[in-house]
């Protein structure tokens, strides 16, 4: 019992000691307000750049396959073997559709036309439009979310559905009655390749990487709009039978038809890889992130190092009075951790605010939780570097320096 009581007292003393020394460490940190703010600013800047820039990058990259994601029903995309990305139109023979339908494991297969055409807007503007022609019978491939009108309206004469972003931005027109700009709306009459078309719906769609405004109509009508060619079928959208392995069905389609078939996820990766390889985007954003890390590390690291160096006299006094190196190291680590945590929180918060502010705009922004771990790792690295540099000085500190004025 006596041993237990002594042990309890010893544990309590250690607890009191640690909490009080942590308090002293924090008071030292907050007491040097100028350096404290400079360190927070440095870490905030680094966290902001390391979160916001990759979030923009991820947002942009996710747009490279946003069109594939829009079409939720198909499991497999079948295309010409030379297609590199979804906007690349390399038509197939119409007969390929029947061949694909004959592959074991295929529940259904529908055609999809996709191509760039010229559109004449009601106010006389000529624009490029990215037309998708979906299966006339099932309308598979049409948008999921309608803001005005309905999918069934596609069956009306000359009906097309327009992307809401395009309708309000690039396809906004000057109203003949008022003379003011207004979004394209249901009932407006367009000409696509000199063929009459009527807006029957406005759909909510994710923006694409190529930024071409999207429009949807039936496959048969798209054939009418598009310049006549021997081959018109761009993609075949396939649903695997229930219980079938999608990747295996895709492999079977490849084997039976000689065409390329990707599962939806694999096709997304193909699109992403194409733009990653063929543009300087990853390098440019990588440089931004690296510079953010460097500047943040330099500002926060240097300021923290200077803060600790200027506190060495205080650490020496504590050391002389009987504070062990392990405690001093813990104090420095705590100071670094607090600065890192606060700076990281502000930086990530600012990034999130930025993301909220640009949501729905032309600016891309996608901040998954993995990105927070990435930027958190970067901040941790900065903080650890700063702390390690400073800890060395604290450990090597000679307490006898307190006797030198």
């Amino acid at each position: 019992m006596i041993i237990d009581a002594r042990h309890a007292v010893a544990v309590a003393r250690v607890f009191f000691y640690k909490t009080a020394m942590n308090f002293i460490a924090l008071q030292m940190l907050f007491g040097d307000r100028g350096k404290y703010i400079a360190m927070i600013v440095g870490i905030t800047f680094a966290a902001l750049i390391m979160t916001q820039q990759p979030a923009i990058f991820l947002g942009l990259i996710s747009r490279t396959y946003s069109y594939v994601g829009e079409l939720s029903l198909p499991d497999i995309w079948v295309m010409d073997p030379t297609v590199d990305f979804v906007e690349e139109s390399k038509p197939l023979r119409d007969t390929e559709l029947q061949r694909v339908r004959g592959v074991p494991g295929v529940a259904w297969a529908v055609p999809l036309f996709k191509g760039l055409l010229t559109v004449l807007l009601p106010d006389g503007q000529r624009k490029i439009i990215d037309i998708s022609g979906v299966d006339d019978a099932t309308l598979i491939g049409a948008p999921k979310i309608m803001l005005q009108g309905s999918l069934a309206d596609l069956r009306k004469d000359d009906g097309i559905i327009i992307d809401a972003n395009a309708a309000s931005e690039r396809y906004s027109i000057t109203d003949s009655a008022t003379g003011k700009k207004r979004p394209l709306r249901v009932g407006d009459v367009l000409e696509i390749n000199d063929q009459r078309s009527v807006v029957v719906g406005i759909a909510k769609l994710d923006r694409t990487f190529t930024t071409q405004p999207l429009a949807f109509t039936t496959y048969a009508r798209a054939m009418r709009y598009a310049p006549g060619q021997r081959r018109m079928l761009t993609y075949i959208l396939v649903k695997a039978k229930p219980g079938a392995d999608v990747e295996q069905v895709a492999a079977d389609i490849r084997a039976h038809t000689g065409l390329t078939a990707y599962s939806k996820d694999a096709f997304k990766i193909v699109n992403r890889q194409y733009w990653m390889k063929n543009t300087g985007i990853p390098i440019n954003f990588g440089i931004s992130v690296f510079l953010g890390f460097l500047v943040g590390a330099a500002v926060a690291g240097q300021t923290f190092h200077s803060f600790v160096r200027e506190s060495l006299k205080q650490f020496a006094a504590l050391k002389a009075m009987g504070v062990r190196n392990t405690t001093l190291v813990r104090m420095v680590m705590l100071q670094a951790a607090v600065v890192g945590l606060i700076g990281y929180g502000i930086g990530v918060g600012l990034s999130a605010l930025f993301g909220t502010a640009v949501a729905g705009s032309v600016l891309a922004f996608y901040m998954p939780w993995q990105l927070l771990i990435f930027s958190g790792g970067g901040v941790l690295l900065i903080v650890m570097l700063a702390a390690l540099l400073s800890i060395r000085a604290v450990i090597r500190l000679d307490p006898a320096t307190v006797f030198r004025s």
């Binding site: 009191f16 002293i24 008071q27 030292m28 009987g322 062990r324 006898a400 006797f403």
Partner: protein, 239 residues
């Protein structure tokens, strides 16, 4: 309060043939060349001498901050050179109080928090330590400045805080480095009076390094040092 040690009979500090040098062969500087010194418990001794004579090195060894190259230094019955670095740190925490020339108060802590530090280091809960610090501050005439920040105090007041900090954990040995060099004559006398009182009331042993001959009369003995040797030890009247 800790019991007052037996007077005269026991020595708080017993140094024999202490040597200490710094640097490598070519840049080697010998600071102490065989120091013999005994300080009685409850005694106030001053180490005086020109700059570079080894005074600071000697109190650093006595305080357990530096290890001698050779010789023995027994402090409060403990052979200080034989302690492990961690044990030396613990020894200082429990048994040694420090008063520095430049006070070395932590600017981000209040006066009371500064005074409480040695108790905190010894595992006393912060609120309790602060309460005791406030009581001690009242004893040194700063009861109303407990919540002030150090930079709001005059030099003399800061040194009083440093004295309170050195006394609060009731150490048996207090080492002081030039405690009055930054103070005017009147304040210096007040500080020495306070320190003298602390020695007498608490029975603590005090080793003071000083150049300030105005405070010599407060010492029980004065050890004169030169070139790493103690050249003379005398009562204050002898200097």
């Amino acid at each position: 309060m800790r019991a007052v040690p037996e007077p005269a009979a026991a020595y708080a500090v017993e140094c024999h043939a202490i040597t200490k040098s710094f640097g490598d062969k070519e840049s080697r500087v010998v600071a102490l060349r065989g120091i013999d010194l005994a300080v009685r418990q409850g005694e106030m001794i001053m180490l005086v001498g020109p700059s570079g004579c080894g005074k600071t090195t000697l109190i650093s060894i006595i305080a357990g901050i530096l290890r001698p190259d050779s010789g023995q230094c027994r402090v409060l019955g403990t052979e200080i050179a034989r302690l492990s670095p961690a044990a030396a740190v613990d020894f200082r925490a429990r048994h040694v109080g420090f008063i520095f020339q430049s006070y070395n108060l932590l600017p981000a802590l209040t006066v009371a928090e500064n005074v409480a530090i040695p108790l905190i280091i010894n595992g006393i809960e912060r609120a309790t330590a602060r309460g005791r610090a406030q009581a001690l501050l009242a004893e040194v005439g700063l009861g109303d400045r407990a919540d002030a920040m150090p930079q709001q105090l005059s030099g003399g007041q800061q040194q009083r805080v440093a004295i309170a900090r050195a006394l609060i954990h009731e150490p048996q040995l207090i080492v002081c480095d030039e405690p009055t060099s930054a103070l005017d004559h009147v304040t210096g006398e007040q500080i020495m009076g306070l320190m003298r009182k602390a020695v007498h009331e608490r029975g603590a042993t005090m080793v003071i390094v000083t150049h300030d001959n105005r405070i010599f009369p407060y010492a029980d003995r004065i050890a004169h040092m030169d070139d790493g040797h103690i050249t003379d030890i005398a009562a204050d009247s002898g200097v």
